[in-house]
């Protein structure tokens, strides 16, 4: 009777019907009942009028109408939208069921919350770091132009200013180039303490090149990035909001940076510094900049060959490829230009170029790690799901009777299935919600370990897309779990189940086998993860046990940069810089005399800062220097050696007497001896850099400036008094608490120069841990996932064995009655557990042998087939598995034969 155009067919009409059914269902039902009551009353009255006695009349009337319940159902069916109302009823029923099975509900929700939460946390990292679009125009056309050095084998060096100028002028494959370099600057607010700011100096070409416009005001003009150009500054959006309350009138005003007044000309959006931290982090060396969150201020890079000659390499060069070219063509062209420069300039000896896409520079170090962790977290979820599937199977067995009763009462299979799915969905969505809460907590811990290589850490958070992904995962998991008991229900034989006790029959055994396989597989998965994590943990521990050549424990570090205004840098009179030297001398005196301080030192770069390198010659062997890599120049106070506990190999250390008035001397390290002197005696030789010759008076053991895992580069140490730096790190060895000492150090520095911004105050051992970067991050996260999966797998073993034991109570009772001891009873349970654990461990180790290749890039000092790790993991897992069998084994041992046999 329905045709197109029927009012009942339109979507809107349907929705109204559904809504009415969902929300007006009870009302309609009441009306129906009243209508029926009226009908019965009238029918009975008519029969009574015909002489039928009253109770009989009511009975006949009711018979004529038919079964009240069926009628009620039929009417509800006819009203339509039944399913929605049913869904509500199913949900209420499910809530009731779950409330009865509290233990089951709690364990399932918690397990799912752990699995889903771990996924949510990691997905928000991946979403923030990798999936967000790069905030630059056509970012795939952007490339980084590195310089290379054949003598040292480095492939990612910043460029010199004159090289940048030549590259810019001659290139045809790049539309434009821009030079960038990170700085530290100290902002002096009108009131309050000076603040150290992340600062980026860029040529005026930078913002147009990446395609970022100023939010307010403008970016730099060509007139501003030449030497002597206007002292202007751009503010980063976040700094502007935080410091200036997003006040647009700041444009045109003047702020003081490093004591220099600069006019604010514009505000650039947050994210304009995309990738610049990573650019610095990937360079083989770079200046004092160490990215700390986003760039607060941008300065015009007013470069000149006079200030930055061809043999210093402080600038990062970024270019945009023209539409008509490829990176390979650009690379060919730039190599050609570099060849010409190499022939033309002595300082460019052995230097080439290396073109790399910006995307790779930023993401290549972290992408594999993040995908590795994504794979690991998927395993966590899988193991969580296997565990919950196990719980469902156990519960399904217990519910066979319910299923049979409901089928017997006429519940259709679809209806039962829907009931189970609704129940599972409730569990999984609850698990997902709890998981989001866990993820929120976990993310904070995770980000503490975020390495500097990880771009856009500020943008990581639980946002809409993360929540949608979590919801999707939860629903998927719920659907799958709804199907488990549905499939079981399909197999239920209503007659058999209702007839009697099904005990230890064939379906029980089949189900137990299935559950045992699930446990074996989850154990195998967790062994794989634990092994990979174990390899990483061993690597980190080996890295930390590498002797870095200095002793970080017990040393506190504080950094500062001396502003040029108050500490003039007169290079004609170098190394005589009275203001700088007065500051460093007094600072060292005052800090050394603090109570509890054993020794204090100042260095241009702390022992975990790669610092900078310089070209140099050994006097008398100038021609050889062509093929030599540059040498790291370390400017240190004489107290540096005792403070850092370096080892003296030969000759003497630098002394207090090595000042500007006495002969210039240096100390070199083992690596420098090996690289430049070989079998010759370096003592008494002179090396020349910065236009001055300095005599070598001693040799010390290598310090691993680039982190313990990297070999120490050749280095030369000059005394501060003979080579004053413009910035420094104060290193204090003491027996005092870091918090306590650092406030005192701040006070001392403040008393010497109240306007100096002090930063990076932390124990050097913290710096050492941070230098592990990605390796530590991956180890921490993978380790957490591994522990999580192992715990879940153990819960799984425990569950299966407990269930099996409870099913075998009777059997154990009989055995005991026949003379088996408690020990034997417990032993049989433990044996079952050990068998499963052995099987799972074997499979897991085999899987790990393959999976470990994903972590091989992060290993240090161990191979991925390291037998120690394999044995340790196998032992650990087996031990844990045996522990997990303890409770069911004890239960078996406590079985009382009399009780067990009576139990029927």
């Amino acid at each position: 009777m329905t045709r197109p155009g029927d009012p009942s067919r339109g979507l809107a009409a349907r929705v109204i019907v559904w809504l009415r059914a969902a929300f007006g269902g009870a009302q309609a039902d009441r009306e129906h009942q009243e209508e029926i009551r009226f009908h019965l009353d009238m029918a009975a009255a008519r029969l009574e009028g015909q002489g039928v006695p009253s109770p009989e009349a009511r009975r006949r009337a009711a018979i004529a109408l038919g079964g009240a319940a069926q009628l009620r159902e039929a009417a509800a069916d006819a009203r339509g939208g039944r399913w929605l109302a049913d869904l509500g009823r199913d949900a209420r029923y499910a809530v009731r069921q779950l409330r009865h099975a509290r233990g089951f509900t709690a364990v399932s929700v918690l397990t799912l919350a752990l699995g889903i939460g771990a996924n949510t946390a990691l997905f928000s990292v991946i979403d923030g770091v990798l999936l967000r679009p790069i905030p630059f125009r056509a970012p795939d056309r952007l490339a980084v132009l590195w310089e290379t050095d054949r003598t040292s084998g480095t492939t990612r060096e910043p460029a010199s200013w004159p090289d940048y100028v030549d590259f810019s002028r001659e290139t045809r494959t790049f539309g434009t180039l821009a030079a960038v370099t990170g700085l530290e600057s100290s902002y002096t607010p009108p009131s309050g303490e000076p603040q150290r700011l992340s600062t980026m100096a860029v040529t005026h070409t930078f913002f147009p090149l990446v395609g970022v416009n100023a939010m307010r005001g403008r970016t730099f003009t060509p007139e501003e990035d030449v030497p002597g150009g206007a002292q202007v500054v751009l503010l980063g959006e976040r700094f502007w909001r935080a410091r200036f309350n997003a006040d647009p009138s700041v444009i045109g005003q003047t702020i003081r940076l490093d004591e220099v007044p600069r006019q604010v000309v514009g505000i650039v959006p947050a994210g304009s510094d995309f990738g610049l931290d990573q650019l610095h982090a990937r360079a083989d060396y770079h200046g004092p900049y160490s990215g700390v969150g986003d760039v607060a201020v941008w300065l015009p890079l007013q470069g000149s060959e006079r200030e930055y000659p061809r043999d210093t390499h402080p600038f990062f060069v970024i270019g945009r490829l023209t539409d008509a070219t490829t990176r390979a063509l650009a690379s060919d062209e730039m190599v050609g230009i570099a060849d010409r420069l190499e022939r033309e300039y002595r300082s460019n000896t052995a230097r080439g170029v290396h073109v790399e896409s910006l995307r790779d520079v930023v993401f290549a170090p972290v992408r594999p790690v993040l995908y590795l962790l994504l794979g690991a977290v998927a395993l966590v979820l899988l193991v969580a799901c296997v565990n919950v599937a196990n719980l469902f199977l156990a519960r399904g067995a217990a519910r066979m009777r319910e299923v049979a009763v409901r089928s017997a009462l006429g519940a259709s299979f679809a209806r039962l299935g829907r009931q189970f799915v609704v129940e599972a969905l409730l569990l999984s969505v609850a698990g997902g919600a709890a998981g989001v809460a866990l993820a929120w907590l976990g993310l904070r811990t995770l980000l503490v370990f975020a390495p500097a290589e990880l771009p856009r850490v500020d943008e990581i958070g639980i946002n809409t897309s993360v929540l949608l992904a979590t919801l999707g995962v939860s629903l998927l998991v719920g659907l799958v779990f709804g199907l488990v008991p549905t499939m079981q229900a399909l197999r239920v034989d209503v007659n058999e189940t209702l007839k009697g006790e099904t005990r230890g029959g064939s379906p029980g055994i089949r189900r137990r086998r299935l559950r045992e396989w699930l446990v074996v597989s989850e154990l195998a998965l967790s062994v794989t993860l634990v092994l990979c994590a174990g390899l990483l943990v061993r690597s980190v521990s080996l890295v930390l046990h590498v002797d870095p050549g200095f002793k970080a424990a017990g040393v506190l570090k504080a950094e500062f940069t001396l502003p040029q205004g108050r500490y003039p840098r007169d290079y004609r009179r170098y190394p005589v810089w009275p203001a700088t030297q007065a500051f460093t001398t007094t600072l060292l005196q005052r800090v050394s005399s603090l109570p509890g301080v054993q020794s204090a030192a100042l260095a241009a770069a702390h022992p975990l800062d790669a610092g900078f390198t310089n070209s140099f010659v050994v006097v008398g062997r100038e021609s050889e220097a062509r093929d030599w890599p540059e040498i790291s120049v370390r400017q240190v106070s004489p107290g540096y050696f005792p403070t850092m506990e370096t080892r003296l190999r030969r000759g003497r250390l630098l002394q207090d007497g090595d000042d500007a008035a006495s002969p210039l001397v240096v100390v070199i390290n083992d690596a420098a001896v090996a690289r430049y002197f070989g079998d010759r005696d370096p003592l008494g030789q002179e090396i020349r850099f910065w236009g001055m010759s300095r005599r070598i008076v001693g040799v010390i053991g290598d310090e691993h400036f680039r982190g313990p895992a990297s070999p120490a580069p050749p280095a030369v140490y000059a005394a501060l008094a003979q080579a004053p730096p413009t910035s420094g790190a104060l290193l204090v060895r003491s027996s005092r608490e870091p918090e306590d000492l650092s406030s005192e150090i701040r006070r001392v520095i403040g008393s010497l120069d109240p306007q100096l911004a002090v930063y990076g105050i932390e124990p050097l051992s913290t710096t050492l841990l941070d230098s592990l970067g990605t390796r530590r991050f991956a180890t921490f996260v993978l380790g957490a996932f591994a522990v999580l999966t192992l715990l879940l797998a153990l819960v799984g073993i425990h569950g299966v064995l407990s269930y099996a034991t409870s099913q075998r109570t009777r059997e154990i009772g009989i055995r005991m009655a026949l003379g088996a001891t408690r020990r034997e009873a417990a032993g049989s349970v433990v044996r079952g557990g050990v068998f499963l654990a052995l099987l799972g461990t074997m499979i897991g180790l085999a899987g790990a042998a393959g999976a470990s290749r994903f972590v091989s890039g992060l290993l240090f000092g161990v191979t991925r087939s390291d037998p120690v790790t394999y044995l340790a993991v196998a032992a650990l897992v087996l031990l844990a598995a045996v522990t997990a069998t303890a409770v069911p084994a004890l239960r078996a041992a406590r079985v009382l034969p009399t009780e067990a046999l009576r139990l029927e």
């Binding site: 009777m1 329905t2 029927d6 009012p7 009942s8 009409a13 019907v17 009306e31 129906h32 009243e34 209508e35 029926i36 009226f38 009908h39 009353d41 009238m42 029918a43 004529a64 109408l65 038919g66 079964g67 069926q70 009628l71 039929a74 009417a75 069916d77 006819a78 009203r79 339509g80 039944r82």
Partner: protein, 114 residues
């Protein structure tokens, strides 16, 4: 829940209900009485199928209902035919007449087979 199920009988029942309700607003019990009376007790309608049919017709928008008081001062649900219901009734009646005369023609055929 399949609305096409038993369309012949159900269709007939619904057609009868539409016809009866179109005469005057009436409650379910009244429809039962009217059906017995009008068909001279030939149709012994299963009273149980009346109410689902009323719900179905209401849901399709052919009937609407309201609660009124009967002469004996009781609350009862009165149904009436809507405008679409009237159009529907007309179409259905026409279809019914066409098919019933065709069925009659077949049943009263006494001629020889061609």
């Amino acid at each position: 829940m399949n609305e096409e199920r038993g369309s012949m009988l159900q269709g007939t029942l619904e057609l009868l209900i539409l016809k009866i309700v179109s005469l005057e607003p009436i409650h379910g019990w009244g429809i039962t009485l009217r059906m017995e009376q009008m068909s001279s007790n030939v149709f012994l309608v299963n009273q149980g199928s009346l109410y689902p049919a009323l719900e179905r017709l209401t849901r399709r928008g052919w009937l609407r209902s309201e609660w009124r008081t009967t002469e004996s001062n009781r609350r009862a649900r009165y149904y009436e035919v809507t405008a679409p219901g009237r159009r529907r009734l007309a179409t259905e009646l026409e279809g019914w007449q066409r098919s019933s005369s065709a069925v009659n023609a077949i049943l009263s055929w006494s001629g020889a087979l061609p």
